[in-house]
């Protein structure tokens, strides 16, 4: 049973807060018991008021004081219960998210690369929220609902068991109606969601490309298509909204019938008192107020059950994520001093076993050498970088640094020795400075500015509103500027080995040429791996690896490769044919 397993996990998660759970349950019982007791007291009070001159004030006064005290107790109990519930809900939410962020850091890249970000984010945010709302709030509603129903039944039986039985027999009617309506609306809601999804996709597509729509003067056609979809949504939304809003009036109707029946039966019992006449007018008043609040928990419980199911489904998705396989265990040993001698021996690797990618690959790189990786887009150039930095582990063979297999040392000590600039520039939310000092947090202002200058980023940074302290938002910089910042980031650190993955793809060639000088200076004496599709930038490499469809098809120096007149030569000549 998957459900059972999930519930077990949930219990383990909340067991930390068992004190609050206990508190919540205790005060829930207290709240329900007193809420049900108060109508009895009021009934007694009304019985003390019969006719002019016959009001029993001696009996009435203590009763009224008791009611007031009880009401205040209910208020306090309910408040404490609410506070305990809030605490449980928000603390569990916090705990789950805490686990989630640690999970993200411990997941292998293969997971992150192969799953949509949106999916993970929605598990960590939306699912966790819905889980907390649904399960914890739903649970207390469920609990108090059941207690209220049971308590009401007991109280009614005590007041008059015949009427109680009549009410109990009538209740299934209310549930039946509620179920009928919700069954009917479910399919309507599904249809509405479907049409709405279609419309959202359309809006998303057209609005994001609004400029193209206008460039092709396609506004009228687009509006027409939109209206069609909009009308359809309106049709289904009306049906779904209307039918779903029938639940309340219908159950209220049943409730009113029960109310009328109780009034009739109560009057009959008081008048004819066939079995000893235990019912008073005050008792009838109590019965009526029970009848009034009796069906409410039934409606709530039907709602709560779907909510609970939803919550468990959310919990499933969260646990599924939290239980994903983590990175292989970290080696104990730290990597020693690194000079930059890398060797790959018989390396084989593939992302999916069915599609072999790199096979039997050998490469020896000596300290200070420059390795260029070229090939058409999508040929797997980035794969090699994934392996060097141990974002992925090789399937066969080994990669070693200074003769040590990189799997035998900690990932951190390995990555410390690489400086990396990727094509996809990622900047942290924060200031420009925060982003530059990522690799060296104690850098001085002079060092930061020097790094920015050598990346040719200083002048544009100074033009930002607050210079180095400007807080970056999602699109405050152009792609080229973002790339310059990423370059400044490694200019500051200068590790023994450098990886440049299309590091200048968004920068114009003139600026690139200038940065190239800085790169050249930086790469001097450092082992560097450069991925590029601009062939002019890699001509001076010590080894050029030519990749095609995931395989290394050629390997050698520029002149050798040209002389061989193979794939590289073809690529190269295509660029210079005018």
């Amino acid at each position: 049973m998957k459900h059972k397993l999930t519930v077990k996990k949930i219990l383990r998660l909340v067991s930390k807060y068992r004190f609050y759970i206990l508190l919540s349950l205790l005060f829930a019982i207290g709240t329900v018991a007193l809420t049900l007791y108060i109508p009895i007291l009021i009934g007694h009070a009304i019985d003390a008021i019969v006719e002019p001159g016959q009001v029993d004030f001696e009996k009435l006064s203590p009763l009224l004081i008791e009611i007031a005290v009880m009401a205040i107790c209910v208020g306090v109990f309910q408040w404490i219960m609410n506070l305990a519930n809030n605490r449980i809900a928000y603390l569990v939410v916090r705990d789950m998210r805490k686990q989630a962020i640690r999970k993200i850091q411990a997941l292998p890249l293969s997971y992150i690369d192969s799953h949509a970000y949106g999916d993970v984010v929605s598990r960590v945010i939306a699912d966790v929220d819905q889980f907390a709302d649904g399960l914890l709030m739903g649970f207390t509603q469920f609990f108090t609902g059941i207690l209220t129903i049971l308590g009401t039944v007991v109280m009614m039986i005590k007041l008059n068991w015949e009427i109680a039985i009549a009410v109990i027999l009538l209740t299934p009617l209310s549930m039946f109606v509620a179920k009928f309506i919700s069954g009917k609306t479910y399919s309507l809601f599904k249809k509405q969601t479907q049409v709405r999804g279609k419309q959202t996709a359309f809006i998303d597509e057209m609005i994001s490309s609004q400029k193209v729509v206008q460039a092709f003067t396609h506004e009228d056609e687009t509006l027409k298509a939109f209206d069609e979809c909009n009308e359809e949504l309106g049709k289904w939304a009306l049906k779904a909204t209307f039918f779903s809003s029938l639940t309340n009036p219908s159950t209220r109707f049943i409730n009113n019938l029960i109310y009328a029946a109780v009034a009739l039966l109560g009057a009959v019992f008081i008048l004819f008192t066939p079995w000893g006449g235990a019912l008073t007018v005050g008792g009838l008043n109590s019965l009526l107020s029970y009848a009034n609040q009796y069906t409410k928990p039934f409606n709530e419980i039907t709602g709560v059950i779907t909510e609970l199911q939803g919550a468990i489904a959310c919990a499933d998705r969260i646990f599924e994520f939290l239980e994903e396989k983590e990175l292989s265990e970290e080696a104990k040993e730290e990597l020693g001093t690194v000079e930059g001698n890398v060797s790959l021996e018989n390396v084989a690797f593939s992302y999916v076993p069915e599609r072999p990618l790199i096979q039997n690959f050998n490469l020896t790189v000596k300290k200070g050498e420059r390795i260029a990786i070229v090939g058409p887009t999508g040929c797997g150039k980035t794969t090699l970088i994934n392996l060097l930095m141990r974002f992925y582990d090789v399937d066969e063979g080994s990669i070693s640094l200074e003769g040590e297999d990189i799997r035998t040392v900690t990932r951190w000590s390995l990555r410390k020795n690489y400086g990396m600039v990727l094509q996809e520039t990622w900047l942290k939310r924060g200031t420009v400075r925060d982003n530059i000092v990522m690799g060296k947090e104690d850098a001085t202002d002079e060092e930061v500015i020097a790094a920015a200058k050598s990346a040719h980023a200083h002048s544009f940074i100074m033009r930002l509103p607050k210079g180095y302290d400007t807080v970056l938002t999602e699109d405050s910089l152009s792609a080229g500027q973002r790339q310059l910042l990423c370059i400044a980031r490694i200019m500051l650190v200068l590790p023994p080995m450098v990886i440049l993955d299309e590091a200048t793809s968004s920068i114009d060639t003139r600026t690139e040429l200038k940065i190239q000088e800085a790169f050249n200076k930086m790469m001097k004496g450092r082992t560097s791996f450069i991925v590029a599709h601009r062939l002019s930038t890699i001509r001076e490499a010590d080894v050029i690896l030519v990749m095609h469809d995931g395989n290394i098809v050629e390997q050698g120096k520029h002149d050798e490769l040209l002389a061989r007149n193979g794939f590289y030569a073809k690529l190269y000549h295509a660029q210079f044919e005018a």
Partner: protein, 571 residues
Amino acid sequence: MSIFRYLKSYRKEAVLAPFFKLLEASFELIVPLVVAQIVDVGIADGNMPYVMKMFLVLVLFGIVGLAFSVTAQYFSAKAAVGFAVKLRHELFQKIQSFSYRELDEIGTGTLITRMTADVNQVQTGVNLFLRLLLRSPFIVFGAMIMAFTVDVQAALVFVVAIPLLFVIVFAVMLVSIPLFKKVQGKLDTVLNRTKDNLTGVRVIRAFRKEQREIEEFDESNESLKKSQLFVGRISAILNPLTYVIVNVAIVLLIHVGAIRVEIGLLTQGGVMALYNYMTQILVELVKFANMIITVNKALASKKRIESVLTTENTLQQIEGEQKEEDFIVFDHVSLTYHGAGAPALSDICFTVKRGETVGVIGGTGSGKTSLVNLIPHFYDCTEGSVRIDGSDVKAYDPKALRERIGIVPQKAVLFRGTIRENLLWGNENATEEELALAVHRAQADDVIKSKEKGLDDEVAQGGKNLSGGQRQRLTIARALVKNPDILILDDSASALDYATEAQLRKELKQLPCTKFIVSQRTGSIAHADKIIVLSDGKQVGFGTHEQLLSSCEVYREIYESQFKKEDSDET
């Protein structure tokens, strides 16, 4: 102008829904009186037929109440849904009318949220509002008025309790609503941090920042929890407090009632009725509080929607006289984007003859795209004028002008549908031959061939099932289908390999239209009749490749950065 004017076409429904709700509520208000009659007349006098009659009255009230309520729900659903449909239509139409400047300023992400989430929120708000706005206060005040009919002195308890209850409900709302907004902001921070950790995973791991990211996340997470607990503490007080107040009021009511019964001014059934009215108030108050929360959210959405609807297209339209001159003229043109500090283009001056090919080159952010965007009048230039066929572009009807221009945007966007449907965007009436020719010229023959159903193959949203190069060639074909007077290629061959690009260039050369080719590569534009060189928004060179090589330093630098001196003879 409030968006509620769109409710006008549903005026009937918007009035009838609350009206029927009122009718339903008035029956609910009579019920306690009927029960009081059962006690005072039926039970006190032992009048069984009277009890029976009153029972039937209660059942009848139930049925009539149900009928009224269902009618009200229908009208309110119809008004709310119809209103939302109309609102979405108006919004969509409005967005279609925006010029590039408004689109840039508001941002497409925001526009999408306005059209979806915000409209839904408003719909829910209107629906609930129509149903509850009148009902809840009516029941509350109606109960008070009914209480007066039962007994004036006892009813004074209501006069004190009701304002007190309202004050409490509003106070809690006023305090907690801004706090809820703060919580939402903190949740967004946690969401963004989660997203950042996923998108930046390589950089975070490369710089070994896992631990610090965890610490920063924990900080936001704790801060969120703290705010949630705080606002929870405040809203948790609402229900208990109202419960206590209502019950204390009931105690007072029974006490006053008892005194009145003792002196013969009130009956036992009357006390019961008063009690029942008080409990009705409690139930309604809870509903009312929920409605306020929903309506408040809806009002926030309404405000956001209105800000979109009140944004006006700023594109200028002028009367212009016809001049005798070259086909396209840029006459001392400057462009400063709204809100930007520095101009994106300044003092651009050049002329182009019909049929010429113009290359536009320059570094990242030098203003190339801004320049070509002025030709179809996507933006208003801030100074000078852009003239086509002797008339200012501002004098043309924008649609008529754009009909004559074929554009291949930098980002190769295709729409969901078949390849054919996408190509027909250029010209709805294009024949099969015209489509085939455009595809051929755009070097996209093999794209079509590689598809199982050829032109009728499906394109996924955003063209995700095509490679960048394939998309680019199809967007070129789309523009060619238009058979335009002016063709603009905005860096649209960047994903093509050099051989394909050269072939494309050859094909385009044969077309009679005037062409603007934007590129970062000198190789792509060297053959053009005229080349404009831009640097930081300024025109630093204008002429042919050879002229520029000898006269324009920036051009020479760009050229040399791409072709080492030794290769220069290859062009």
